[in-house]
């Protein structure tokens, strides 16, 4: 990275998932010299490359009839952005000043001025939020099935959630575990039909319906879960060696509180069908402003829109 002090970038992109990197490709091809604040390593989905970095096979991204591994897809996105001149800072944005133009985006060691800012910070996976869950993180409780499935070979584990992410994790983990109990608060899944069919047909996956995890138990490592049936109110203990949680996402917008308009749920508000935020010159794309579709392809699409919106706005205000 070579942003000299005093240098004003045309476009700074915060985030490097499908939205941020697509915006980078389009902005770079428009000769806007985008600088991408890509985030920093993490074992959660909030990391360079975004949520797909923790997934295995992506089967619904068009152009890959045989599927592609999530990290491979994101490496390809980045290589394409790099090819056209996008530059990267491997740090998290720590502050955004949108009160005057040019805007300022700060990280731990950089402070960059930008005529336009594209926010693509995405969303991160929610945890249960239990005290013992945090204590046993890394000792049976995991945020990364692809990293930690291996350690549960020959043991019984649990996955919490009922969407595509939960079923994908359950199916992946069934390769290692002797039994995967899928704990879901309702009686039906909201996952896609194809994922439901696969999970229901998998002999290692059992379903615990109408149930929530109320405590995570174990001394030095996870031993069991206290599970409550939400219909009967009855608590049972389920012995497990591993716990993986896929109960939804929360947008990464803490940085923008008081800076950009957002919903009560934290998702950024954009105007109409475009990517404009309430601050002229700041655009938002991907999961950070989309709680409806939340797909790699929709994120990439809105990243493209943000770059085009930014390019047009820069041309008009120059």
């Amino acid at each position: 990275m070579a942003a000299a002090a005093g240098d004003v970038r045309d476009v700074v992109i915060i985030g490097s998932g499908p939205a941020g990197l697509t915006a980078a490709i389009y902005a770079a091809r428009a000769n806007l010299r985008p600088l991408v604040i890509e985030g920093e390593p993490s074992s959660s989905s909030d990391q360079p490359g975004g949520q797909l970095m923790l997934t295995t096979e992506v089967e619904n991204y068009p152009g890959f009839p045989d599927g592609i591994m999530g990290p491979d897809l994101m490496h390809a996105f980045k290589a394409q952005a790099t090819r056209f001149g996008a530059e990267f800072v491997t740090e998290k944005a720590t502050g955004v000043d949108a009160s005057e133009r040019p805007f300022t985006v700060a990280t731990y060691s950089h402070s960059v001025k930008a005529r336009a800012v594209i926010v693509a910070t995405g969303a991160r996976a929610l945890l249960l939020g239990l005290e013992n869950e945090a204590r046993l993180m890394g000792y049976g409780v995991s945020t990364c099935a692809t990293c930690d499935g291996f350690f549960h070979r020959g043991f019984e584990i649990a996955v919490v959630g009922g969407g595509d992410s939960a079923l994908e994790e359950a199916l992946f983990l069934s390769k290692f575990a002797t039994k995967v109990t899928l704990i879901h608060r309702r009686k039906e899944l909201r996952a896609s039909r194809i994922m439901q069919d696969r999970a229901l047909a998998n002999p290692k996956i059992e379903f615990l319906w109408d149930s929530v995890v109320v405590d995570v138990l174990g001394d030095t490592s996870l031993e069991s879960l206290k599970v409550r049936n939400v219909v009967t109110g009855e608590d049972t203990i389920l012995a497990v060696h591993g716990l993986f949680v896929a109960i939804g996402h929360v947008p990464n917008t803490d940085l923008f509180k008081g800076v950009l308009d957002m919903e009560d749920t934290g998702y950024l508000r954009t105007v109409g069908h475009g990517t404009w935020t309430n601050v002229e010159g700041v655009f938002a794309c991907g999961d950070v402003q989309d709680h409806v579709y939340r797909q790699a392809i929709t994120a990439a699409g809105s990243g493209c829109m943000a770059a085009i919106d930014a390019e047009r706005w820069l041309a008009e205000t120059a």
Binding site: P41, M53, L54, G140, T143, F151, S221
Partner: protein, 110 residues
């Protein structure tokens, strides 16, 4: 392989850890772990910058089950810092450079 980061195995682990004058950070990793790959360049930078104060080595959990089990590694990346052969602290999960340096700082050779 990475400059300054050598590989330990079940066979070499004890000798290398006990025989080191500097504190040793062992990075437990595996090929299939994305966040492990992501911190490799970060660890390489730290190894270079902290040369003489800290030694960084890695251990492939897939190939070295004995040591991984002995230290009850259940999640990777896990990094354990040893001084005089004794485990001092454990860092679980990938982190950025500044956070890692902050976590390691109290254990580095002054």
């Amino acid at each position: 392989m990475a400059a300054g980061i050598s590989d330990l195995t079940d066979a070499t682990f004890d000798e290398e850890i006990k025989g080191s004058a500097e504190p040793v950070l062992v990075d437990f990793w595996a090929e299939w772990c994305g966040p492990c790959k992501m911190i490799t360049p970060v660890l390489e930078e730290i190894a270079k910058e902290q040369a003489g104060k800290l030694r960084i080595v890695k251990l492939n959990v897939d190939e070295n089950l004995e040591v991984s089990r002995r230290f009850e590694v259940m999640s990777i990346p896990t990094m354990i810092l040893f001084r005089d052969g004794e485990a001092q602290t454990r860092i679980i999960g990938a982190k950025g450079k500044q956070q890692l340096l902050q976590d390691l700082h109290p254990y580095l050779t002054p």
